[in-house]
Symmetry: C2
Subunit: 482 residues, 2 copies
């Protein structure tokens, strides 16, 4: 169902460069890293998401007859090259941090090890998928944090940037901690809970609000959330809802979940008034749900003002990550294999020190405090470096090397977090289900210090380089500047 | 190719409401309007886009066996209702403003006339598609305006919010006036020009920059744009490019189009320096292309500072409409047909006067100044009202009725802009090609006064109500307040 051939979902320059490599190079094996430079929304961490869609994309890579024909029509590709494309498949290795993991700037989220023609082709689609889903999972995680344990429902499909943004955005939102989505197709595709109530048009299609509520309660007695703001929230909506709840109670109907939804007006004021009215009528377990332009900051503020809201529907601001609608993931060459099979580190310099890449064939170890289980730092090192948890570990900031921390042997644990996904073009990784990933993500967030989870000005997590990687980087920079 | 069944791409509440209507109502024919309340980015106009995808969606609406089975599994739908769904098809009428049209807040972009169950189902997907494409077409139009005739290339796929956002975003960007996209699949699907050069990785994969340029020029002599900022733009990149262009000239090769691309650093400063170097070497026709976090405001500012850039690659900020990543299109009930076949106007009130809807079965006439061909106003009226261009036309602001304009008969022309697309479930409209729509959009923008096209604080276009519509709206509001 819904499988699409996304092979041409790439920038034209990937194909022109491929032809260039085809004509001029030996198609050496190279390494590209996917990494990002800053957490969105000035946050202290991000959430990894989208790997399962990258896996599907890589598995299904092939140029159909129509694709080759279309490319031929552009008049810039040789028949030899088009012939090569018609037999194309991905033959390389891919490593990745699993979905749901907490991730930090500058560390490789994915490492692609493949002949340069293949590694180049897949750049655009991999970035597209990873940038989108990491963005929305991270945003969702922030919104969930602000709600302090209340459920967040993802309601953004109508404002998402196209069907996929709604679908994969819902997937990412679930990974980030939402309890459900309004998006039925996402529910079907990813086996996640779908949720919803009714719209103003439901109320308007009946002769009056009371009748609309009564009919809704009759049809859905077990999930009976009534939208109370069509005419006048406190004068009409809440009283009519209470009337219907009272009739249900009198008839001996005790809904599993019931309540009201506020979708306009001042949510702090209205929720407190409505709570009082519901409580006075004996409906202390009725849930007040709210929607209308919510994000983590407004939820945070409403909480501070004592809003009596127990369930939040978040739409536009979550599904578009409105205040930061792109995740700046990039794809950079870090090494080229020589004829002896050795990976020669490559570096991209920049006037901006933050934009200088980390060279070589690398991996990442996550370093945890043994006592608390919290993350002390991520350590980027060469893939062949070995570590012993009984040794003292020296951590230092790669941009300010005088900032040093020494962890005594035995005080920390280490875990390699970049895992093999494809080996010689074969997928060797089985993705967990979305709800399993969401469960894992919840545990991952427990490894963060509270200071890192804060919405405003959080404490960043250290991402350090091994001594050996740092020295290589410094040497390459010195050579460049000559 | 790439056809997907998007029938379940809807909010769960559309389906629960449908079942509610199925159980409680006669499935009366109703009218829903799609409209938006504000132009994105505080602009003076927006661009209509996405209709062709809405048409595809409506044509392909059907619940597969798997869809019905999935819904059954949710445990909230009756077998009778599921049986109804399994035979579902859209049987209503749809009217729309054609793609590429300039559009303004509060006017119906689409009008859906259908039995309430059908009209309710299609809300979410229609909004998703229209909101996305109108947003990106509008943003593109602003960027194109800022470039004052230079070509804008859409380069955002890697930062788009998923594959569709890249694909349909590229489509919308072309409608808004871009000259091409880097997105190859968009090129294939929509028959639009694809463009691109090479990345830093191309340079880094050769032993030096000069060799990389030379090989690129050999392979693509007719579209030879060299990326000059991998190492040092002015000390290495531009001199190496000039060396290669000189060798081409000496060999008698005269490229159709050639030049350099700047992707970092200060684009005003670097482009002026590079222009001087190119001109001094005799390459006055070499084009300087630029990319790197561009949007309409930066392009505008670079133009003011005399940047010597003739071609602009715009990525993230265009494909996500970064400063305003959602288009606030809504879908509101405006009328219900009674048993006599008459449409009874319905209104949704709100404490916010801007949020009050326009009731009834409506259409839109665009009123042009006869002499200049520029738009004087859009006039929303009942669908059965008739107009005579020889009569005086009274225009008044529906929120400030004392603001009146009288257009003498013969001084204006009128055109109905809401056109029939579906009739009794059959599509009766043939969409133009994307490039035809782009052509049409260019002409549409000529009907705007310059004051409306300005990036900052533009003059809004009047969207007025007919006397009859205004009176009905006032009467309904009066009745409500009783």
């Amino acid at each position: 169902m819904n499988t699409r051939n996304l092979t041409l979902l790439t920038d034209l320059y990937e194909l022109t460069m491929m032809q260039g490599y085809f004509e001029t190079q030996e198609n050496e094996t190279v390494i590209f890293d996917v990494f990002f430079r800053n957490n969105p929304n000035n946050g202290g961490y991000s959430i990894m998401a989208g790997l399962d869609q990258v896996i599907d994309y890589i598995k299904n890579l092939n140029f159909s007859y129509e694709d080759v024909d279309y490319l031929r029509g552009l008049g810039i590709f040789s028949e030899d090259f088009l012939h090569y494309l018609s037999g194309f498949h991905f033959s390389g290795d891919i490593y990745a941090i699993p979905e749901g993991s907490v991730i930090f700037p500058k560390e490789p989220l994915l490492k692609i090890v493949a002949p340069i023609m293949e590694a180049q082709l897949v750049e655009t689609a991999i970035l597209n998928i990873i940038n989108h889903q990491c963005l929305i999972a991270t945003k969702a995680s922030r919104v969930v944090y602000a709600a302090q344990g209340d459920g967040i429902m993802e309601f953004g499909l109508r404002r998402a940037q196209g069907p996929d943004a709604g679908l994969y955005g819902a997937r990412a939102a679930m990974i980030g901690g939402c309890v459900g989505t309004s998006n039925v197709l996402a529910g079907q595709m990813f086996d996640v809970p779908v949720m919803g109530t009714h719209a103003h048009s439901w109320i308007m299609s009946f002769k009056d609000e009371y009748t609309a509520f009564k009919e809704y309660a009759r049809l859905y007695p077990n999930a009976c959330t009534l939208l109370v703001d069509t005419y006048d929230t406190l004068k009409s909506g809440v009283p009519n809802a209470i009337r219907v709840f009272t009739e249900m109670r009198d008839a001996g109907i005790h809904p599993k979940s019931y309540g009201i939804r506020l979708d306009s007006g001042d949510l702090a004021y209205l929720s407190k008034k409505a709570r009082k009215m519901l409580d006075e009528a004996g409906f202390t377990d009725a849930v007040i749900a709210a929607s209308n332009d919510l994000d983590e900051f407004l939820i945070n503020d409403l909480k501070i003002q004592g809003a009596k809201i127990g369930s939040w529907g978040v739409g536009t601001n979550l599904i578009t990550s409105k205040d930061c609608p792109s995740f700046g993931g990039v794809y950079k060459l870090s090494a080229i294999q020589n004829s002896d099979g050795e990976f020669i580190p490559k570096i991209k310099i920049s006037e901006n020190v933050e934009k200088i890449t980390n060279p070589g064939d690398k991996t990442i170890y996550r370093v945890y405090d043994k006592e608390t289980g919290k993350i002390r730092a991520d350590l980027i090192c060469f893939a062949d470096e070995t570590w012993n948890e009984e040794d003292e570990l020296l951590l230092f900031d790669p941009n300010a090397t005088w900032k040093k921390t020494r962890l005594p042997g035995g005080s920390y644990t280490m875990k390699e977090i970049l895992l093999p996904i494809f080996k010689h073009g074969e997928c060797i990784y089985e993705s967990p289900s979305v709800m399993e990933i969401a469960q894992f993500c919840k545990k991952e967030k427990e490894t963060l210090w509270d200071e890192t989870k804060r919405l405003f000005n959080p404490h960043g997590v250290y991402v350090d380089l091994s001594r050996s990687l740092y020295d290589t980087k410094t040497r390459l920079l010195d050579e460049m500047s000559k």
